[in-house]
Amino acid sequence: MNFKHKYLFLLPGFLVLLGILIFPIGFTVRLSLSSWDSFFPGLDFIGLENYTRLFTDDPRFWEAFQRLSFMSVITVFLQYTIGFALAHMVWKEIKFQRFFRVLFLIPMMTTPVIMTVIWKTVFHESLGPVNDFFSLFGVTPLWLSSEALSKVTVIIVEVWQWTPFMFLLLLAGLLSLPKEPFLAASIDGAGPIRKFVYVTFPLMAPISIGAIIIRLIEASKIMDTVYVLTSGGPGTSSETSSFYIFIKGLREFQFGYSAALSLTYLIIMIISLTIIAKMLVKLMIRS
């Protein structure tokens, strides 16, 4: 029997794949080999010039990448810790369990840019309520305009916004855990801490790894929070890779160069997240 017509059925899916994945990536690769900017619109061919510029003459990108790595690792660690604690809390039978489950999800359901604008008002150094409170103790921290604190502020807002996502995944994981290991641990006389360390945490490891990787991917794209809160400042102290790419692409209109930045960034992220995932598996599951 001739099954060649089966390819016809694959065609719609293939075309969709081509349209939404392969073509944009292919176009970005081609764009990265051109000098397209506001003055030279068009796909001329300049070889690897943009990549040479990136690797030899653009320390700002690499500084932004280091900053991003620091901020995303801290952010995701805090989200995981707080998210796990909250999920663990409402996993048990407690009063107003449903209320708390919904309450903890609210930040994630808000619009990030709008909430960041609100946070910016909250942290406003001379007009915001946070410093109104701190001024009672004679201090007015510079939440948005100090080199160190501006990063902390971005991390606070990101943790507030996205911890619910971690909470949701981890709660789903906890609810799906089998009861038998916990019963066995109880029979063996294990207390709550031992149960958590030797039963809950190991059983949650696969879900934890998935949640951490998903959040790391998202956190590495941090852009709107930085854009609204600090514009990457003061100086370049809170500038992240994606914000820098945004500046080069959509502020300075250097399309060709920003395409090279994007592709390089994509490759670095694929490699580093693969390594991180393997390390987490080794650390959390095998050990």
Binding site: D37, S126, G235, E252
Partner: protein, 511 residues
């Protein structure tokens, strides 16, 4: 100039009387112009009502509400009622106005008939824009536009953008403090200097420092020295140029302010600019807490809300301070940007120890018709209607609209006294300050209008913000900017940049 103001006053008064009789007809229908009624002209309400654009559609890309976005939408609605045209207004954040128009321009598409943007986009946009037709350039309404704003909207003598707004940076100060005899005596006693409208940036800094961090208006809140646009990538480069013109724009040295026109070597790390940046770094000590992160909106709210003694940038902070709901209405003054007691001469490589001042005719809002638009007649009529005398007079009275004076008839103090309740002395000072900057000075600096202007401005924002944050010294920061500018010039081509820059230099050198 006084003679000119008198003539303008008579003209405006006469036109006000002339329109009074027919004001009711249109102002009843369009309350926005209730103060003036319709004012006769080529694009008045009366003239537009005679056009029939039924079945024609305009799409406009403009700024977000309220600044410029609100008057765009309001005048679109009025235009639609008068002419029958369907007008679709799309609002875009300021930072995306350039790219949102540029992407379809480059792709050969025409999603917008009219694009709003900043006047310094002109070099990059001009090839995609339809020059303003002669009938609009020569009409009476356009004859009233100041030469500076004709120049800002033109490229090599051809008007590309339609003047709808006027902008310049000038000094705003708390008149109730600077003119207060008690504070004048206190300042004299403690510093040995006169408390007066600051003539130089050094005086500005000394006064701002003196009035920083205490409750000098007895409202129970702390006040500060100055509110400035210091937030990176939020128009801060314009604030830096305002601070640097006095030190770096030498009227005796033609041939470029940003670059040496002959060699296209950046001048941005010269001693004049470094001195200005050093002053600006000092300013971080007398801005309100977090002032280093102030964008334009913060600056307007801070000065307009009575938080600081000084401010300098666009008109908006002054207009906001003089609105009826402002706590400091009629307590503010306007003056030219401070000068300096020395100016750098790059030809001789030495400072010249004499007073210098230079107005910065900063870029502002403008609008233009896309070359690929199929409704160019309707589009130009819309822009002409937007800027007609009645709409313009109403728009400049509303601070949030972002429409500021750019017509000679705007610089008549009586307008502000009668229609907006300004103190006559403040109105006179305001009108004279602006008019002097527009028409009086021969040492003006125009915004950089070259290919890739955003790359140059972005480099300035990055470098100066590093200095403000203490990451680099002023000299190191501007050396970094100069190195980046050299790379941009090399990428785009020195001749290409020079060709465009020469047009701005000709204006600055009064050629």
């Amino acid at each position: 100039m006084k003679k000119m103001i008198k003539i303008s006053t008579l003209t405006v008064t006469a036109s006000l009387l002339a329109v009074a009789a027919q004001a009711d007809k249109w102002s009843d229908q369009f309350p926005h112009i209730k103060n003036t009624g319709d004012i006769a002209g080529e694009c008045s309400y009366e003239s537009m009502s005679k056009k029939d654009y039924s079945g024609q559609k305009l799409t406009i890309n403009t700024h977000a509400v309220p600044v410029i976005g609100e008057p765009t939408a309001l005048h679109a609605e009025q235009f639609s009622k008068l002419t029958g045209a369907e007008v679709n207004v799309i609002h875009t954040p300021a930072g995306d106005l350039y790219s949102k128009a540029m992407v379809p321009f480059q792709a050969g598409q025409a999603p917008y008939d009219i694009v709003f943007g900043f006047s310094n986009f002109i070099r990059d946009w001009k090839q995609y824009l339809q020059p303003v037709p002669a009938k609009y350039v020569n009409m009476r309404q356009m004859q009233d536009v100041t030469q500076s704003h004709i120049d800002v909207n033109s490229w090599d003598g051809e008007m590309i953008q339609f003047p709808i707004d006027g902008d310049r940076h000038y000094l705003k100060y708390r008149k109730d403090v600077i003119d207060n005899p008690e504070y004048q005596a206190k300042y004299k006693a403690e510093t040995g200097n006169e408390l007066r409208v600051p003539q130089t940036w050094k005086e500005y800094g000394e006064m701002a420092t003196f009035f920083n961090g205490w409750d000098w208006d007895n409202d129970g809140e702390l006040e500060y020295g100055s509110a400035e646009v210091m937030k990176k990538d939020d128009l801060m480069f314009a604030a830096f140029f305002s601070r640097s013109v006095a030190y770096a724009k030498n009227p005796r040295v033609p041939g470029g302010y940003f670059f040496d026109l002959e060699s296209m070597e950046p001048l941005i790390n010269g001693p004049g600019f470094v001195e200005a940046l050093t002053d600006w770094v000092e300013a971080t000590k007398y801005v309100p807490p977090g002032g280093i992160n102030f964008g334009l909106g913060d600056e307007i709210n801070s000065f307009g809300g009575g938080q600081t003694l000084f401010s300098f940038s666009w008109d908006d902070a002054f207009v906001a301070a003089m609105q009826d709901d402002s706590p400091i209405k009629n307590k503010v003054g306007a003056a030219p940007l401070p000068g300096s007691d020395r100016v750098w001469n790059r030809s001789s490589g030495a400072w010249e120890n004499e007073f210098n001042q230079a107005p910065y005719i900063v870029w502002g809002w403008t609008a233009a018709v896309a070359k690929a638009s199929k409704n160019q007649d309707v589009a130009f009529d819309y822009l002409c209607f937007f800027a007609n005398d009645a709409n313009h007079q109403a728009d400049i009275a509303i601070g949030r609209f972002g429409v500021n004076p750019f017509k000679k008839s705007d610089f008549v103090p009586e307008l502000y006294v009668e229609r907006q309740g300004w103190d006559p002395e403040i109105a006179k000072q305001y009108a004279e300050t602006l008019m002097e900057m527009e028409e009086g000075s021969t040492n003006r600096v125009f915004p950089l209008r070259v290919p890739g202007v955003f790359q140059f401005n972005s480099a300035i924002a990055t470098g100066t913000s590093k200095a403000l944050a203490g990451q680099l010294s002023p000299q190191e920061a501007l050396d970094e900017v100069a190195a980046e500018w050299k790379k941009i010039v090399k990428r785009i081509g020195a001749d290409t940049v020079r060709e465009a820059y020469a047009i701005g230099v000709a204006l600055e050198d009064n050629l």
